[in-house]
């Protein structure tokens, strides 16, 4: 029971941490943008109105997320360790939550009562938000270097928040400005600030990695290290977009619409980076994972190309291995992981369970690879017939629904609703819904049945959202090394989904005269082909 509660808690904690970090970034980014780059509201009144409203929404979301997080953590302590309610109130995470709430309320009151005149007064509660966030970071739980680690964490949060959190406010300011000199001045002010923040993110990130990761072996040999690498790759994508923006601002003939569209993609990838950071805080730092690291030779062996597995073991064989019948007779809760000691898991996983999972991934890879190739064909003269490629996603959704979790409905003994109590199955079900939405909307767009702008954006949103979901996706394996080897395949898939989604977004949203649009139109099919190939080479043993 405690383990089940813990796994649900872990998933919710990552989601709430992601919402907290994102809204914290928006609040701090909004305050910083108001101080550094926003034009005087006397000149551009609409920009200030929308900016203050967005900060208020972010503050409201932050407060709610913190209330939920603290409530959840208190509930966990009370349910799993019988800690009395009053005793839980002295915990550090409760203090942190209280500081978050107090600072959020202060910001909301200042914005309501004093408006633009409050902008400098917003800085102290903004700093309190950073302090509250640091109070629940890895830094405070460390035994050594607490103060420098807390300072590096604060610098990392501040830099990321001012840069990424400032982007929506820059978008608002660009939309509201009518004078090109206002646009250029706002952009230049923000660009200078963003460059300092990039240096801050990189510098503090390196310092944190030096302590939390600690060695090259831990970079690739632990989940934490692999996630840091993924975050770094996404940061490079952000820098590439930032560099394009910077080039546009410096050239004559300001392309404001192009800038705004690129900002949308930059913000989307930025939020994905923040979600990756939320996922990182739920994992032990790499330096603490000593016994169960994967070696370079294990990783190379697992990643080496092999022939796909296109035949599956039977459900009966799988059921015998997992002892479903015994569990049902003993009224046990849904248990998806063999409950054997960690040292036996690897041996057990070489049997039918592994073959089942590999078969699933390989067929899914074949479908996605076909989709990628058809998307290419649809773009060349005479390839119009291939425009129905989105329908293949319906086949993928049906395949996932039936095969992804064999213990539950429709193949296994656990019912449809019962299956939702397991976080991993729940995430797979969300993935199925996303794939179906993707298939229907995109097919209607391709065949001309739907010309709505929102319908065209379902593809990039679902694709980028799916990538973000994959980053926070957890595999409940008791064997830490096996968990890493699975994640090493999933993390590149997440990055490719993210790139595919945002390149399609820009293809749709950039002005038709932009040359960049043509390059991006080929980028997302390439990502689909790469995703298909990666899935085809997925191995669990």
């Amino acid at each position: 029971m405690a383990e089940r509660l813990q796994s649900i808690f872990n998933l919710l904690a990552v989601v709430l941490r992601g919402v907290t970090l994102t809204s914290e970034a928006l609040v701090i980014g909004g305050i910083a943008f108001t101080l550094i780059a926003l034009p005087d509201p006397a000149r551009v009144p609409a920009a200030w109105k929308k900016t203050s409203r967005t900060i208020l929404w972010a503050v409201f979301t932050l407060g709610l997320a913190q209330l939920a997080f603290v409530g959840l953590d208190i509930l966990m302590l009370m349910k799993t360790a019988d800690v009395p309610f009053l005793e839980t109130l002295g915990a550090d995470f409760v203090m942190s939550g209280a500081l978050f709430l107090a600072a959020s309320v202060a910001i909301a009151i200042l914005l309501f009562t004093r408006g633009w005149n409050a902008r400098w007064w917003l800085a102290p509660p903004g700093a309190a938000l950073i302090a509250a966030s640091v109070m629940t970071s890895h830094a405070v739980a460390r035994l050594y270097y607490r103060a420098p680690m807390a300072m590096a964490t604060a610098a990392h949060h501040l830099s990321m928040a001012v840069w990424i959190g400032g982007l929506p406010f820059l978008w608002i300011a660009l939309k509201a400005a009518s004078d090109s000199s206002d646009v250029r001045r706002t952009m230049m002010n923000f660009s200078k600030c963003a460059m300092i923040c990039v240096a801050g993110v990189a510098g503090s990130g390196l310092a944190l990695s030096f302590i939390y990761v600690g060695s090259w072996n831990a970079v690739y040999g632990t989940s934490y290290g692999a996630m840091v690498m993924t975050k770094s790759v996404l940061l490079l994508c952000l820098l590439a977009i930032g560099a394009i923006n910077y080039g546009i601002v410096r050239r004559p003939g300001l392309r404001t619409i192009t800038l705004r569209r690129l900002l949308e993609a930059e913000l989307g990838i930025g939020i994905t980076v923040i979600l990756a950071a939320a996922s990182l805080t739920s994992q032990p730092p790499a330096v603490d994972v000593v016994a169960d690291r994967a070696s370079a030779s294990e990783i190379v062996s697992r990643m080496s190309p092999g022939w796909p597995r296109l035949t599956s073991p039977t459900v009966t064989a799988l059921a015998a291995e997992s002892h479903w019948q015994e569990r049902i007779k003993s009224n046990a809760t849904v248990q998806f992981v063999p409950d054997v000691p960690a040292d036996q898991v690897q041996r057990k996983q070489r049997t039918d369970g592994v073959e089942w999972s590999e078969y699933n991934h390989h067929w899914a890879g074949l479908i996605v690879l076909t989709i990628g190739i058809l998307a290419f064909v649809a773009k060349i003269p005479g390839g119009g017939w291939a425009k129905h490629w989105p329908l293949l996603f319906l086949a993928l959704a049906a395949f996932l629904l039936v095969r992804s979790d064999p213990e539950v409905w429709p193949l296994g003994p656990y019912g449809f609703w019962q299956s939702f109590t397991d976080p991993e199955v729940f995430q797979h079900r969300i993935a199925v819904v996303l794939v179906i939405a993707f298939a229907i909307f995109e097919w209607r767009v391709r065949t001309g049945d739907s010309s709505s702008r929102i319908a065209t954006l379902v593809f990039p949103i679902v694709c980028a959202g799916g990538g973000a979901l994959l980053l926070t996706h957890t595999h409940a394996l008791y064997n830490v090394r096996e968990q890493l080897l699975v994640e090493l395949t999933h993390l590149p898939l997440a990055v490719l989904a993210c790139v595919a989604g945002w390149s399609r977004w820009l293809e749709l949203r950039l002005p038709s005269e932009e040359k960049l649009r043509r390059t991006l139109a080929w980028m997302w099919p390439v990502c689909f082909v790469a995703i298909g190939l990666l899935l085809l080479n997925y191995r669990e043993a």
Partner: protein, 86 residues
Amino acid sequence: MHATVAGPDLAIRMRFNVRVDVIRSRFTLVYPDTIARPLSLDKQQAPDTVLSRVSGLVPGTYTIRWQVLAPDGHISRGEIPFKVGS
């Protein structure tokens, strides 16, 4: 893990790789007859260490179930099975 220790009195000292909020952490000892009894935790001597003691253990198989809260809000738990020799 699975060590054999001498009884009947036992001093328990567990060291973690992070600071531990001992007030909100719980240790339970499961006796050979499968009855679980909470252990009282001593005052911390170091931020990463939890101390307890238990007496009157008869020979048999026991398990310490632990759950600790770290200052960053993370809850960790585990089990340590051991035997008390005759």
